[in-house]
């Protein structure tokens, strides 16, 4: 700890100019944010912060170089393991702007990760970056002193492949965590744990690199095998996804009945319908699939001959609780919706367990034509979900401009607030080009009160 503080102190004291510059710039970014925070949505500002954080990371990468060269550090009386630990952890002062900006960006972009976990993840990223920098400090002098030969130059390719491999693993795990839509605390915990494992692995690799000089060179027998294995592991998922793209992209899995619906192969479908062999896959019945893909003929065939119920709902993970009307709204096929409504007129405002209506599904997916059709048929635009969201709020959240305009036209109430206390306009941002449309529908007093509040704050 004493040695760590000594390194930290020396980093702070002896790099005053560099650090003042980068910390000062970060401060300016925050000042600009507070000054201009009324402009644009929070999500956009968040993305801007993330972009600036990326530049801060690059700056830290280039400025955090050549304080003491490796020979000096190795000659110091402390174990290599300790030297590596204190050096990389104390270099965190150079990455502080990246951590602050990345944190602000993550919070404003409403990333589905707990704030504490986000902070720890950014610190972990900084330590990893520092370890990567350290590796290059170890390798560069070694490689520079070797004879220029084709085999020795292969080190460059090997290192790039290693980097891609690590990036692939990290990206893959993060994608799985986000896609699985687990609780944000659990997601944070999983990512932080993986982050610590990653740091542990990188630390071990860096320590090995420091002790084993041969790792800085390309040893044909050893490295060709490793490269081949890693290249296969990178290529295998890509090839698998390419070969099975149809199945993977399908939210309802793949079987012969579903395939015949997708391909509009009514002959094959009829055979299965007559034998009564209608499978359920990933919570989807054939009738729901027909509704989802907007195949009216297949829908009629299944509905008329099989014992399928119009009240079927998706029991699978994706679109859980959606009925055939919701799926038809998603398909954006007006004939499909017309057919469903002809069988069940009350399906117009059919609700899922979360109170979601077909209009909300169409609005939140920017299916303007469907929104227009449903509103024309008399769908209620002011129903609220369990989270208090109306179709207008959902359309605003996704920046679906045409759907928002249509909903306002059909008298959707712009003053309804969700459970976070936000109205649709709040999701667009005060200076949105749609403000005029909202203004037409919102009482004058709302804007006057807001303006008065803003001028009071300024005073």
């Amino acid at each position: 700890m004493k040695t760590y503080l000594h390194f930290l102190k020396s980093n702070l004291l002896y790099n005053k100019v560099e650090l003042s510059f980068s910390y000062g710039l970060t401060g300016l970014v925050f000042c600009f944010y507070f000054y201009l925070r009324e402009v644009g949505s929070e999500a956009m500002t968040g993305m801007n912060f993330v972009s600036i954080a990326f530049y801060a990371l690059l700056y830290a990468f280039f400025s955090n170089k050549k304080k003491f060269n490796l020979k000096y550090l190795v000659s110091l009386p402390m174990p290599k393991a300790q030297m590596l630990m204190v050096k990389t952890c104390s270099d965190i002062v150079f990455f502080a702007p990246f951590i602050c900006l990345g944190f602000a960006g993550g919070i404003l972009s409403k990333l589905e990760v707990h704030p504490l976990a986000l902070f720890v993840l950014l610190v972990q990223a900084a330590i990893l970056a520092s370890l990567v920098l350290f590796d290059s400090d170890v390798e560069q002098p070694r490689v520079e002193n070797t004879k220029a030969s084709f085999v020795n130059r292969l080190v460059f390719i090997r290192n790039k492949l290693d980097f891609l491999f690590s990036l692939g693993i990290v990206g893959g795990i993060a994608a799985v965590v986000f896609i699985s839509k687990i609780d944000e605390v659990a997601a944070g915990l999983i990512l932080v744990t993986i982050g610590f494992l990653g740091i542990g692995l990188k630390y071990y690799q860096s320590l090995r690199l420091l002790k084993d000089e041969s790792l800085s060179y390309f040893i044909v027998k050893r490295d060709m095998l490793k490269m081949g294995l890693k290249a296969s592991l990178i290529a295998a998922p890509v090839v698998f996804m390419h070969l099975n793209s149809d199945k993977l992209n399908s939210p309802f899995g793949s079987n012969k009945v579903f395939e015949s619906i997708l391909k509009n192969d009514l002959g094959t479908l009829e055979k299965y319908v007559e034998t009564g062999e209608l499978p359920v896959s990933k919570g989807y019945t054939p009738l729901l699939v027909a509704g989802r893909v907007g195949n009216v003929e297949a829908f009629n065939l299944i509905y008329s001959k099989a014992e399928s119920s119009i009240d079927d709902v998706v029991s699978g993970k994706k679109f859980f609780g959606y009925g055939v009307a919701h799926l038809s709204a998603l398909s954006n096929n007006l004939s499909m919706m017309e057919r469903v409504l002809s069988i069940r007129p009350d399906a117009l405002d059919m609700k899922t367990s979360q109170n979601k209506t077909p209009l909300m599904v169409a609005a939140s997916n920017c299916k303007a034509e469907m929104v227009d059709y449903l509103l024309h048929k008399g769908a209620n635009p002011n129903i609220q979900t369990a989270k208090g969201e109306t179709a207008l709020i959902l359309a605003a959240k996704r920046s679906c401009i045409a759907s928002t305009a249509l909903l306002l036209e059909y008298n959707a109430n712009p003053l309804v607030k969700d459970k976070k206390g936000k109205m649709a306009l709040d999701y667009f941002g005060e200076n949105s080009k749609l403000k005029y449309l909202f203004k037409r529908k919102m009482p004058k007093e709302h804007f006057e009160a807001k303006r008065a509040l803003a001028s009071e704050e300024k005073l």
Partner: protein, 226 residues
């Protein structure tokens, strides 16, 4: 034994063999000079002794420990002084000395002050503004103030001006007389070793042999040249 090397082999991975069967012993208080033609492997030997590079075969121990080991306990009794060591340009001489002193429990601040004066160094000068010779002098001040049992010096005298060289060798003679520490000194200037070292390790074509100081002239065929 301060340094004990038995049949040390060092091969650059994917490269040439630098030594085969290097054997060597340095006792407490003994001064060893290392000589060899350019590219013979003098700096590489220093790297092996520092633990910067691992040996490929044989056995090498410095103060009873393998230099490449991660858990060395006696490293605070060794100081490495090298022309290869770079200090950040924005560091002042005083910053560097303070940073280094933290790691050496026997560091003598009073001696540091005397040596700074002796070598006519400005403690407030930044490394970026110093000449190569002045940078080496700052390292020399740190080396002797640390009161180590072993100083490894790699090509430090070549960059010093005549006055500083004289001061440096006077200091070395004082240290040798008091038998305060052992010194291993790699250099290209054979004359530097006269009257300073007890023996010389000569590295030539992968072989390293130990010689007496008065044999130096024979090693480089200097007599024929004269």
């Amino acid at each position: 034994m301060i340094i004990e090397a038995i049949n040390v082999v060092y091969r650059v991975p994917n490269g040439q063999t630098v030594y085969e069967g290097l054997s060597l012993q340095v006792r407490p208080g003994e001064f060893l000079g290392i000589l060899g033609r350019n590219g013979a492997g003098k700096t590489t030997l220093m790297d092996l002794l520092t633990g910067y590079r691992p040996i490929s075969g044989g056995s090498l121990k410095v103060m009873g420990e393998e230099p490449i080991s991660s858990h060395r306990r006696n490293k605070d009794q060794i100081f490495v002084l090298s022309h290869d060591i770079q200090i950040q340009q924005s560091h002042k001489v005083s910053n560097y000395l303070e940073f280094t002193s933290f790691f050496y429990p026997l560091y003598d601040k009073k001696l540091e002050g005397e040596l700074v004066e002796y070598f006519d160094l400005d403690p407030s000068a930044k490394f970026g503004s110093l000449s190569t010779g002045q940078k080496v002098k700052a390292q020399i001040v740190a080396a002797f103030s640390c009161m180590p049992n072993l100083i490894l010096m790699d090509e430090v005298t070549a960059v010093l001006d005549p006055e500083s060289r004289k001061k440096f060798f006077d200091l070395l003679r004082t240290v040798k007389r008091r038998q305060e520490c052992s010194v291993v000194m790699a250099t290209n200037i054979a004359e530097d070793l006269n009257g300073i070292v007890d023996k010389v390790l000569f590295i030539d074509r992968r072989k390293a042999t130990v010689h007496k100081v008065d044999e130096i002239r024979h090693l480089f065929n200097l007599e024929d040249a004269a």
